[in-house]
């Protein structure tokens, strides 16, 4: 039996998932006796999935007791329409102040769910819809599982900075073997939280049978009857002597290291530890170990930062901070893209795919414009080939894209974005020219990464319709869009831009037009400290690896290779000019650009990346090298300083927007909370700026 536990102070009231029991006569399904069917349902529709907090667990516990008391031949558990359960109620975790509380929540889950595995009566999970984390773990405790053919399942804990600690880390490897368990618990979670389709879950052995949703419950009861009567035999393998344990654990570890740029981050490492232990551990000792790990992680700053980041991403995906009323947005039914180079073509494709309206591209001659259009059409064909788009949809879009050398084609556009060469005078000239062609309401957007949007709007008759619309490369993949307002940009223009951004399924921040906006400004400042250190004489590998333990997805020079020294140098020069000498221009970078050396790393003969001798030869060698720790601290200090300046200048209004930018625009990890929670917990914010960015408890353990 379990004891109820109460929520920590300050935690939002639990949305309770109630569990109720009904008898199902198995006679019509060919077996004698009744099945006690437990339904879990929080009473709300599918947009608010079942979650599992202490009161929900108590309700399930009571339902199991009730089910047993009915002396059924089997017990089954199922969810509400479209949803099984989306896992533990995480809302309370951020408020836990005591490790004992954390331990108790883990233990409560185990105490309730393990009953489903330990009672003599056969137990079934009829997973009728979405089952994530603790939801799927309910199923894993049961002896058998059926799954609806349209339901997605996953153990996303490692994605969130946790471990599948309500039995998953111990039960799953025993059920499906180490290799598949590592796939589900580690690789899927680390791969941007990939969920399993029903056929994957069946193939991996996570579930025993899959039925169509139209009569999922009836077929599942039929399956239960067949198992009970022996018509269906379910074989379980003992994986304890499986030869693959060591190698797959190594695979899991490699994936975790790769994800975090070589850093050993607690959540994946502890998950691997639990998986490894499950080889020989009894269920009881496995569950106990899970409790300890869950408590350790829950009472750690990285998990609190992760939860903060997760909630931030979820919330801001829907609501853009500082956005004007959506009703102010103008209808967009024709879009222009100035330029037909690669970036412009990518933008055209993204706009075309999401807005599904006519998109016109221009370039200096018809041949270049045609080339852009051809590229877009070829990409559509590729999508059809990969079965990610129907041929019909591609046909429709192909007819909507066109190219011209004559900018008059923009005449009826509602939104024109430019992606021409990054030079202010060219863009100023372009907007002046466009203004004579387009209507006064047409939004003129620029994808500039560091030039002043304000200055592009100077001298225009309608400067209020100019706005920065800054994507990240590759534009189809990177989720962030920085929307930059000048001092004159009006609300209708901003609302229109935000509405387009939503159509493009981007996460947006609205910032003041300031050099580099948010992401490039911080990244360039950060990179500058590394290149400075190298220029001063720090060995390149020391400088580049100084940040490894933090868990950034790639090192500074790996990032440089991706961005390209040319672009990076150009941004650095612009910021140097506009923000001051703290943005230095690296002689090494200048030399790389001059010599056409693209990267610090090249692929060696064995496929591994090694230092590029051509780059190493260009390093401007100073005489005051720093230690790795010194590099790390100065880079972090620079970030804190710059973030504080941005807030003081009002580039964005809240620290959360800076974090959101780094999470979505730079791919910085959730356990850093973006970046500011990390700077807070390392004491850098205090020492450098005299204050934290977030109050204790917001993205960290409470004080």
């Amino acid at each position: 039996m379990t004891t109820a536990i109460s929520l920590p102070e300050g935690a939002p009231e639990e949305v309770v998932t109630n569990a109720v029991v009904r008898d199902v006569d198995l006679a019509p399904f060919g077996h004698k006796g009744t099945l006690a069917l437990i339904t879990i349902d929080n009473g709300l529709d599918h947009t608010r999935p079942n979650t599992l907090g202490p009161a929900s667990l108590a309700s399930i516990d009571a339902a199991i007791t009730e089910a047993i008391s009915r002396k059924p031949v089997a017990i089954a558990i199922t969810g509400k329409p479209f949803i099984f359960a989306a896992g533990a109620d995480l809302s309370a975790l951020s408020f836990l102040t005591d490790r004992k509380q954390a331990l108790a929540i883990g233990k409560l889950g185990h105490d309730v769910f393990r009953r489903l595995g330990e009672i003599d009566t056969p137990t079934f999970a009829f997973i009728n819809g979405l089952a994530l984390g603790g939801g799927l773990e309910i199923g894993l405790h049961c002896k058998y599982r059926t799954l609806s053919s349209t339901a997605f399942t996953a153990l996303p804990e490692v994605f969130l900075g946790l471990v599948p600690g309500w039995g998953g880390a111990t039960l799953l490897p025993k059920l499906i073997g180490p290799e598949r368990a590592v796939q589900v618990i580690m690789l899927n979670a680390l791969n941007n939280n990939t969920m399993m389709k029903a056929k994957d879950a069946l193939a991996l052995g996570v579930v025993d049978a899959v039925y169509q949703p139209a009569d999922f419950l009836e077929r599942s009861v039929g399956y239960a009857a067949d198992v009970l009567s022996g018509k269906v035999a379910v074989e379980r393998k003992d994986y304890s002597t499986d030869p693959s344990w060591d190698s797959v654990l190594a695979t899991g570890k490699a994936a975790a290291l790769k994800k975090y740029g070589g850093a050993e981050i607690a959540s994946p490492m502890r998950a691997l530890e639990l998986i490894a232990a499950s080889k020989t551990a009894s269920l009881s000792s496995g569950f106990d170990a899970e409790d300890q790990v869950l408590a350790d992680l829950t009472m750690s700053d990285p998990l609190r930062a992760s939860l903060y980041a997760f909630n931030l991403i979820q919330k801001k995906r829907k609501k853009v901070e500082g956005a004007p009323k959506a009703a102010l947005a103008r209808k967009v039914s024709r879009v222009g893209v100035v330029g037909a180079g690669l970036m412009a073509s990518q933008l055209a494709l993204l706009l075309l795919r999401n807005l599904k309206c006519p998109v016109v591209m221009t370039d200096i001659d018809q041949a270049r414009a045609d080339k852009g259009v051809a590229w877009v059409r070829a990409e559509l064909d590729k999508l059809v080939e990969k079965k990610r788009m129907s041929a019909e949809a591609a046909n429709r879009l192909s007819l909507l894209i066109s190219g011209s050398a004559d900018q008059q084609v923009f005449a009826n556009c509602d939104f024109v974005i430019e992606a021409i060469f990054e030079e202010l005078s060219l863009k100023q000239e372009l907007f002046k020219k466009l203004e004579k062609i387009v209507t006064p309401e047409c939004v003129l957007a620029t994808n500039t990464s560091s030039l002043s949007v304000e200055r592009m709007s100077e001298g225009l008759a309608n400067p209020e319709r100019v706005i920065g619309f800054h994507f990240f490369n590759p534009v189809a993949v990177m989720p962030l869009l920085e929307v930059a307002r000048t001092s004159k940009t009006d609300d209708a223009t901003t609302a229109t831009a935000v509405s387009i951004g939503k159509e493009l399924k981007k996460t947006m921040i609205i910032c003041k037009d300031a050099p580099g906006f948010v992401v490039n400004r911080l990244l360039t400042r950060f990179m500058g400290e590394i290149t400075d250190a190298v220029d001063e004489g720090t060995p390149a590998d020391v400088a580049d690896n100084a940040m490894r333990s933090i868990g950034f997805p790639m090192s500074p020079f790996e990032l440089l290779g991706l961005v390209g020294p040319g672009v990076a140098l150009h941004v650095a020069e612009t910021l140097h000019e506009n923000l001051g000498p703290r943005y230095r221009i690296s002689p090494t970078m200048q030399a790389m650009v001059k010599e056409g050396v693209k990267s610090f790393y090249i692929k060696g003969d064995d496929g591994k990346f090694v230092a590029n001798p051509a780059a190493v030869a260009l390093i401007h060698k100073g005489s005051s090298p720093s230690s790795a720790e010194e590099v790390r601290v100065r880079a972090l200090k620079a970030l804190a300083q710059e973030a504080r300046m941005m807030l003081d200048e009002g580039v964005v209004s809240t620290p959360a927007e800076i974090d959101l930018c780094m999470l979505m625009g730079a791919g910085w990890p959730m356990h850093l909370g973006g970046i500011l929670p990390y700077l807070d917990r390392e004491g850098i914010s205090d020492s450098e700026c005299g204050q934290r960015f977030h109050a204790p408890g917001v993205a960290s353990l409470p004080a």
Binding site: A19, V20, V21, R22, D23, V24, D25, A27, P28, F29, L37, I38, T39, D41, G43, T78, P81, Q212, A214, D215, L217, E218, V221
Partner: protein, 395 residues
Amino acid sequence: MSRTVVLVDAVRTPFGKAGSLYAGTRADDLMVRAMRGLLERNPKLSPADIEDVAIAAATQTGDQGMNLGRSASLLAGLPNTVPGYSVDRWCAGAMTATTTLAGAIAMGSIDIALAGGVEHMGNHPIGEGLDPNPRFLAERIVEQDALAMGATAERLHDRFPHLTKERADRYALNSQIKTAKAYEEGKIQRDLIPTAARSAELGWGIATVDEPPRPSTTMEGLATLKTPFRPAGRVTPGNSSGLNDGATAALLASEDKAKQLGLSIKAKMVSFAFAGVEPEVMGYGPVPSTKKALATAGLKIEDIGAFEVNEAFAVQVLAFLDHFGIADDDARVNPYGGAIAVGHPLASSGIRLMLNLARTFEEKPEVRYGITTMCIGLGMGGTVIWENPHFKGGK
């Protein structure tokens, strides 16, 4: 008929009381469940071979709207190459779906078809959304009684005073007793498709038996019931069918195709007929429709060895039996009980009669012909005459 049409198989969901068992279940989901259950029982038939689907409902709006024939087919997972339409002849909806498809099969337009009917009277109370033309009453096209089915039943008592309330109650009691016995012997359950039914408060359950039967019914109890259709009337909730939710489905085929695919043949269609009577005594409809169907088939009432008469009201069955000189408690009539006990989800009931008759045919190879018949609102009756494929002996 140019080609013989056969009933391959028929099933139904358990029936519920309106607002109870299926209060949280959609009508189209009930229909889909019956269709899928039917197909699951007939694995030799590839769903792609179904050439038309006709689904009936008396109120065709909301979850019974959107052309159920097509929408339920898509929801049931039939290939999108299978067409479908919806039909309405009020209570005889599923019967009409069957006869209309049979006509297409007999003509050679199609070989295999699926007929069905559904009524969720909890979601669609009888008369929902009706807007009778004022001319009906102003011009005395019908009397007020014609628009309330219970009142038409009272009018039958008026017309045939010897069909007393006591006889109606006894008939109703007998229906409950026969149903209870059939349940005991497992004769009803075998054609019920277990159907998931969710209640927000109780969670998921699975309906496996009919909810309406009242096996504890007594004559004394029946005598105390109110007569809601007129003061001192004779029609009570006890000697009428109730307000119910449920769905039925049947597979039809040309005899040749059924044989070719190795499908079961449960009954062969001999003839069918629909006929009209004064709307005020709509319960009398089965008399003329049966006469006509017999005439078409060249049969006499004495040739019929099994009857499935829908029990909208006990008096309406009695009027039918009385006309043809059949005793109130004739064993050939509704051997498993009828709608008074198991319920009458309006448009679905026609196929329930067929699946019962098919079971009688199986049990009684000495019976050659049987009929299914029912009365229909606004003064109609429908009758289908079937031949027993298991018939042995005799002429």
